[in-house]
């Protein structure tokens, strides 16, 4: 579990402020190739903002200022000219499911089409593969042209995951993906994640401490924009993590 991996994402002294309020106070960490990396922490600990830094959708937030360095595959993303390519490299699943107001098929085909893919046959194959990976194919294969927005919440969340997989990302960020769906569906998606870990790096932001414990290789405990603890799961979830705070949070004594 602790064999040296190639670094996929490197974050060095990252600071983020909205206006005059700093929410991330200089954090550094690495995420290895093919790792499931969990980020836990209470609300307002800047978990979602951190993900937005990584795929640079923070560019769309007025008044946000980032300093420090984030490297993906060794390349500084702030110097990336092709930010769209960066975002395709990083699949992002938001907390609340978002079915785009398009058909189920078009929801999944949206990203490849935006990247210029026109071949109908290749698109068909891709849509089937992504929906299958997201454990949704069997439920929707007969109604691919009905609206994605009309699916149930759990189905829409799997549709969102299928869409995030549709641009063949190398990193998949899941931002509290299970808050809108039932435990059974959550388990199905977790199984999917376990299969995907062979091929892609997964960043799992979660409020469910047990989910991080079940799935992750390493877990980072963020608290008010600072890293309290970062280590392999057998340390973070042990009786003796580095920080007493981690022990208390993980075991539900506070937070």
């Amino acid at each position: 579990m602790s064999e040296p991996r190639q670094k996929k994402i490197e974050v060095e002294n990252l600071r983020l402020s909205y206006g005059s309020k700093e929410v991330i106070h200089g954090i550094s960490f690495d995420i290895g190739q093919g790792e499931i990396f969990a980020i836990i922490g209470p609300a307002q600990s800047a978990k979602t903002s951190l993900l937005k830094c990584i795929n640079r959708t923070l560019d769309f937030v007025a008044g946000a200022k980032v300093s420090g360095v984030i490297k993906v595959d060794g390349q500084d993303i702030s110097k990336s000219k092709n930010v769209y390519e960066l975002r395709r490299k990083i699949g992002m699943v938001a907390p609340l499911p978002v079915g785009l107001p398009l058909s189920i098929y078009d929801n999944v085909a949206f990203a490849p089409r935006a990247a210029g893919m026109r071949n109908k046959h290749a698109l068909d194959e891709l849509v089937e593969r992504c929906l299958t990976q997201a454990a949704l194919w069997d439920e929707v294969k007969d109604r691919l042209d009905s609206l994605g927005t009309k699916l149930s919440g759990g189905q829409q969340q799997r549709l969102t995951i299928a869409r995030a997989l549709s641009h063949s990302p190398e990193v998949l960020c899941l931002d509290e993906f299970s808050i809108a769906i039932d435990p059974v569906t959550t388990m199905r998606i977790e199984d999917v994640l376990k299969e995907l870990r062979e091929k892609i790096t997964i960043i799992l932001v979660t409020n469910l401490v047990q989910q991080a414990r079940r799935l992750a290789d390493r877990t980072m405990f963020l608290w008010n924009g600072e890293v309290v603890e970062l280590g392999t799961n057998d340390v973070v979830f042990s009786q003796r993590p580095q920080s007493q705070k981690t022990y208390e949070y993980v075991n539900g004594i506070f937070g």
């Binding site: 795929n55 959708t57 769309f60 007025a62 008044g63 769209y84 390519e85 960066l86 975002r87 395709r88 699949g91 992002m92 938001a94 609340l96 978002v98 079915g99 785009l100 107001p101 398009l102 949206f110 990203a111 935006a114 990247a115 609206l147 927005t149 969102t160 869409r163 995030a164 549709s166 641009h167």
Partner: protein
């Protein structure tokens, strides 16, 4: 026991009564809103009846406005409205897309937004003077349909921008974020998601400006509308952009104030045609809205 749980108390009785009163009062207000409109339409129709005929629409006025129809005025209004919307709709919609989708919040965009709001509140006679100065005299276009349409366009622009922005803002931000997350550009997001889902509101906003444009007298009085003009009957391209024209609103004004011995029904008939045109356009916009709403996707 269940009966005591659901039994009516003095408090619930009062609540129920209040609910009833509120419903009736609000309902009455809604009815009160419609009554004047029905009265206006009914009264106009009754007064105009002796003159209304197909010929009234298709013949030029003759005999110093006292006989004939209103063809040149009707066609003039159609030309003015069409030309001004052809100018203001594209500019207004594109500017609104920029302001809502691209522009960042800074002092510059705040000034633009402030200008749009204030421009919407400028009285039409002020627009008229601006049009006279800027288009007719300074730009040297002269009094013409073009100058009048430009003036009308300036007048409708801020309203089109405001209504378009509102329609765009009604599309949830989460849709945009989902698109950006998968590597779509802003334009791809606008083109594939934002515009298809706001088009009904945008079109309605634009079409509603037809009635406003058709009804305005002041902005066209100095910039292109004339007291009387004879044009070939039955030819819809009788006017050119450089021509001056008659217009229904102006015609109504001149007939009531300048022409003596005109038939009593004449102003009413003109008003009916103006109102009829406007109501037809509004009906079209409602129809379009219903159609596009039915295809709305969330």
């Amino acid at each position: 026991m269940a009966s005591t749980v659901f039994a009516e108390t003095a408090f619930t009785r009062k609540k129920r009564l209040n609910e009833r009163i509120a419903q009736v009062v609000f309902g009455l207000m809604a009815v009160a809103l419609v009554t004047p409109l029905l009265f206006i339409i009914g009264y106009l129709f009754k007064q105009a009846l002796p003159l209304l005929s197909f010929d009234f629409l298709t013949l030029n006025p003759t005999d110093g406005m006292r006989h004939g129809g209103i063809w040149s005025a009707l066609l003039g209004t159609i030309w003015l409205v069409t030309a001004s919307l052809c100018i203001s709709a594209p500019i207004g919609v594109l500017a609104a897309v920029y302001l809502n989708e691209y522009a960042e919040e800074n002092w510059f965009t705040r000034i633009i937004n402030l200008a749009v709001v204030n421009l919407a509140g400028v009285p039409s006679i002020v627009h008229a003077l601006f049009g006279l100065g800027a288009f007719v005299l300074f730009a040297g276009i002269g009094r013409s349909i073009l100058a009048a349409s430009l003036t009308l366009a300036i007048m409708t622009l801020p309203v089109i921008i405001a209504s378009t922005k509102e329609s765009l803002a009604a599309v949830p931000r989460s849709f945009r974020e989902a698109c950006w997350n998968v590597g779509a550009t802003r334009w791809q997001t606008i083109r594939r998601i934002v515009l298809p889902n706001s088009i009904s509101g945008i079109l309605t906003g634009v079409i509603l400006q037809v009635s406003r444009t058709a009804g305005e007298t002041a902005p066209i009085m100095f910039t292109g509308a004339v007291f009387f003009k004879k044009i070939p009957e039955g030819d819809v391209f009788a006017y050119g952009l450089k021509d001056q024209c008659m217009a229904l609103s102006m015609h109504l004004y001149t007939v009531t104030t300048q022409v003596t011995n005109a038939p009593e029904a004449l102003p009413y008939a003109i008003a009916v045609v103006l109102l009829g045109t406007v109501l037809m356009v509004n009906a079209l916009s409602i129809g379009l809205r219903v159609y596009l709403r039915s295809r709305k996707k969330w």
